[in-house]
């Protein structure tokens, strides 16, 4: 049986339309998804609503948004898990990215940062060497949800962010031909590893069961060890300082 759900959808268009919420009443089954509801709004109620979606099975990351304040992949978020019959659903774009229109944000800042750190795209099926090196981060779908959930990114847009830092850790751990010197430098920057305040919200929302916070802590330990080594004129940081 279909439920009646009140969607409150964030609307804005590059500053032309002042940000506000539009209400839409949607008949939807509890085992349908939030994305199904949004598509129904677009199809039958408001063709101007803009949102991103592609794969519909949690592998592209493009439908990431905030549902009732928490980052979700709307294609795999079931109505029954986030509201009830007669209930309300507040749908907003990801935080910490520039808003393009309605639920669409510009995720390119994160991609630029991922590029800077070598953008390791390695699938879990690939061999990873020692088991302790294994970290689900290889399955990162670059959805940006960790960037949105991170409280530090709310007030520091210079911060490299969880996805890029986890990628940096991955590249340093297993460079696969990438020159990691600049990545060490980037990781040791004041807006990098040291900026994280260990709220662990990145890992809470990651749809790939990745562990960006864990990767950041691992990178921190590497950097602490390198800093100790550099006191004795050894290690990669000392070599970098010496040119």
């Amino acid at each position: 049986m279909a439920w009646q759900v009140q969607f409150r959808v964030f609307r804005s268009s590059r500053g032309e339309v002042p940000a506000h919420f539009d209400p839409f009443t949607v008949e939807i089954k509890p085992d349908e998804t939030v994305l199904d509801g949004i598509e129904r709004i677009w199809a039958f109620q408001d063709r101007t609503l803009t949102f991103r979606h592609a794969c519909h099975h949690a592998s592209c990351g493009s439908c990431a948004m905030r549902v009732n304040g928490v980052e979700k992949l709307s294609c795999v978020t079931y109505i029954q898990d986030v509201t009830s019959d007669g209930g309300t659903l507040v749908v907003e774009p990801l935080r910490n990215f520039p808003i393009v229109s309605d639920l669409v944000v510009d995720v390119s800042p994160m991609f630029h940062r991922m590029h800077e750190v070598g953008m390791p795209i390695i699938r879990s099926a690939e061999p990873l060497g020692k088991p302790e090196n294994f970290n689900c981060f290889e399955n990162c779908i670059e959805c940006g949800m960790c960037v949105s959930a991170c409280p530090v990114m709310l007030t520091s847009n210079q911060y490299l962010g969880p996805a890029a830092l986890a990628a940096a850790q991955r590249t340093i751990a297993e460079p696969r031909g990438v020159d990691v010197r600049s990545i060490w430098q980037l990781a040791d920057d004041e807006n990098s590893v040291w900026r994280c305040h260990t709220a662990f919200e990145c890992g809470e929302v990651c749809p790939s069961n990745g562990d960006p916070a864990g990767a950041i802590m691992a990178l921190r330990r590497r950097l602490i060890l390198e800093r100790i080594k550099s006191l004795f004129g050894r290690g990669i940081l000392a070599r970098q300082r010496g040119g």
């Binding site: 409280p151 802590m217 921190r220």
Partner: protein, 133 residues
């Protein structure tokens, strides 16, 4: 947005209020928000404490009167609250140092609850000691 991966939206200091919004978030976010709140409270306490000890300039009688006031039950409740704030901030700080060394990251929630259980025991004993005089 610029080509170097940095947002060109201006930094909004008002967003720092959202540090404290942990609704529907995980334990780590609650711990983070509480750490900030207790940090601010300790800062305020420190300033109040400076004012209190400056009463010493007014002489021994004034100081003794203030101490008598502080031994009254409403102020003892304040002392217990202060101990709770101190314990939370200190113990969570220890957790953060441990995690920053990449120790027990996968167990961060258990470490949190373990330290909080320890803090609760210490707080109960402290409260008991304070009220017993």
């Amino acid at each position: 947005m610029t080509g170097n991966g940095q947002h060109n939206t201006a930094l909004r200091w008002g967003d720092s209020v959202r540090w404290f919004d942990a609704r529907r978030r995980g334990l780590g976010m609650w711990a983070f928000a509480l750490n900030r709140i207790t940090g601010v409270l300790l800062m305020i306490y420190l300033l109040v404490h400076f004012v209190n000890i400056s009463v010493l300039y007014l002489g021994e009688t004034a100081w003794n009167q203030l101490m008598d006031l502080f031994r009254m039950p409403p102020f003892l409740i304040f002392d217990v609250a202060l101990v709770l704030v101190l314990l939370y901030h200190g113990l969570n700080g220890i957790r953060l140092v441990i995690l920053a060394l990449d120790i027990g990251v996968a167990q961060q929630k258990r470490i949190f609850w373990g330290l909080m259980a320890f803090g609760t025991v210490v707080a109960v004993f402290t409260a008991f000691g304070l009220f017993r005089g």
